[in-house]
Symmetry: C2
Subunit: 349 residues, 2 copies
């Protein structure tokens, strides 16, 4: 750019994961308090006799949210939830968050109070302390940056990298709903833009709309694990979509996986809406993203512990790396599972 | 806004500090690991036998930086420095940082590598581990969010709130330089925009330009304090300007202050440039901001410890709250010290 270099590479050629990998490939840690840096749902630090986990996220208006259909209170709530979800994905309990917000002058004090009402509600419900606050100007739109901190006993921390061949692959709840909620909101937005007089018809779509606009993080799962004395071998939260996120676990663990399409948990409302949108429900479950369910693997010997655990679905198993990541379709075929990721997926709609 | 409330209040009526105060006034902490939340340079947590301090900052293109004159490598460096400065301001030593960057598609991979080269250089020089990285899209411009973590022994943590009447008021280095550097860059930008063929004349301005574009954080001061077994009674870093930041200390500590204009440390180059810009050098030192020096108070009994400490300037003393914050001018007058803050200050130029 301003340094006169002759070649410029479009960041899209690398994608988000490729870019961050390239930028941080040569980073090493020098403090013994740094247990795990970049490359998992959260970084892991050692202070005292517990591990501290730290996760951070940036939400940008026009990319991650659209204020035409996202109420500010819900947005504030969701901004906290998506970060807490990363903390739970380490089998940790979140304790503190910091929130920074950049806003253009189109936002009033009352709008910010709405946003903060959602932020504070999430903090209250999930019992985390809001310890740092910063607001600043932006030339355009809103950006929200949240950093979440949590703690976990050293012998309970769960990375993406611990899955072993033979482990059972589980997910904590139904998938695809948040994506379908987004499709409805986008459709209503287009209708509204072409005719602001139209009243949105959002009946029979409450579940998927809530999945998109006001998701929850699986705090309860961490409590179940604790109660059952179960430590998953690997875990992450499903933000980009099951297929994409499973690939992260397989890559980090050096394993393959086998997913049974018929076992994918799909909510009934989501199923019907997918068909209405002429989408394959299984595809929305595999690639939808933003459901913030936990994807985890457990050792076979722990099977009894999850059999009666609420909202735990066994969807497949971990195989050897040489087997790749395979989908056993409901039609009886077996083929490689492709991660479309949400960006690519959306551009196909 | 979208909730149909009848009144909208412009955020500018409250200002940045007023807004965050309003939004976070009712926040309480529920975890005993939360020692200090919002209201200082950094939040303070208790994990293990040390205190952990956490600070976060959002830098927005067009508000906090201008890429017409800010090289990306310097920008990356500065983004880390401003956060480390907040950690040092707690008398703590930074150990880890997370960095999130949102970029529009005008940025190439090479541009991001430049930015990260600066980020990584700052991490190397200040010995902090980069533990979390996130890059995401933005519809316009660049936003950088940094969270820094540091540690400090419990008996050494220094808040804004500990200043006592009779304490000595000190600053760790010269002031106003960064602001004058900005004035030069803005002038050259205007010249360049009106005639891109003009070569910038930046001779004899290296010091102030570096103060603006590539500031350093006062790591060395924390080491001096440690060596001299000196714990300041209150401390913060000067980001908004001495006057504004001193008011934060006085408000948090419930005290007044007395500043001697003649004692304000001003670099010779900055002094000459201020006059060239028809600005009072003392005014730039009091209100310039972005110098990232440490403003601190010490108990009178520690005077001997700082007398020979490198780059420590005594600029006044702490008085009772009833005395207010006063400036003893070089002309012999005493009048209330006003914090213009940098926004207001700039609009007066």
């Amino acid at each position: 750019m301003e340094n006169g270099k002759p070649t410029f590479t479009d960041v899209n050629t690398l994608g988000e994961f490729g870019l961050i990998e390239k930028l941080t490939a040569d980073i090493t840690s020098s403090h013994k308090s740094t247990i795990k840096g970049i490359g998992d749902d959260a970084a892991v630090l050692q202070y005292g006799d517990q591990h501290l986990v730290v996760s951070t996220d940036l939400l940008v208006e026009g990319i991650h949210f659209d204020l035409i259909y996202s109420p500010l209170k819900h947005l504030g709530y969701k901004a906290i939830i998506v970060n807490l979800s990363d903390i739970y994905a380490m089998n940790a309990v979140p304790t503190q968050v910091t929130v920074s917000v950049a806003i253009s002058n189109k936002y009033s004090v009352e709008a910010m109070e709405e946003l903060y009402a959602g932020i504070k509600e999430a903090c209250r419900i999930y019992k985390v302390d809001l310890i740092g606050g910063d607001t600043t100007s932006s030339p355009k739109g809103m950006t929200i940056s949240v950093t979440a901190i949590g703690t976990v006993a050293k012998d309970k921390i769960t990375y993406r990298s611990g899955a072993k061949k033979g482990d059972i692959l589980c997910v904590s709840g139904d998938l695809g709903g948040a994506y379908l909620g987004l499709q409805i909101l986008e459709r209503e937005k287009q209708l509204y833009l072409s005719n602001p007089g139209i009243k949105p018809d959002l009946e029979n779509q409450k579940y998927v709309l809530e999945r998109q606009l006001k998701p929850e993080a699986r705090k309860d799962m961490i409590a179940y694990f604790d109660k059952e004395k179960l430590v998953p071998t690997a875990m992450m939260d499903i933000s980009d979509g099951l297929a994409s996120d499973l690939m992260h676990i397989c890559k980090a663990s050096g394993v393959g996986a086998y997913v049974e399409e018929a076992k994918l948990p799909i909510n009934q409302e989501a199923q019907m809406l997918a068909l209405k949108f002429k989408l394959d429900p299984a595809t929305t479950a595999l690639n939808g993203g933003e459901d913030y369910e936990l994807l985890f693997t457990i050792n076979e010997k722990d099977l009894e512990k999850i059999r009666y655990m609420p909202s735990t679905y066994i969807i497949g198993e971990i195989t050897g790396a040489e087997d790749g990541i395979k989908l056993h379709t409901s039609g009886g075929n077996i083929h490689p599972l492709k991660a479309q990721g949400w960006t690519h997926f959306e551009s196909n709609q």
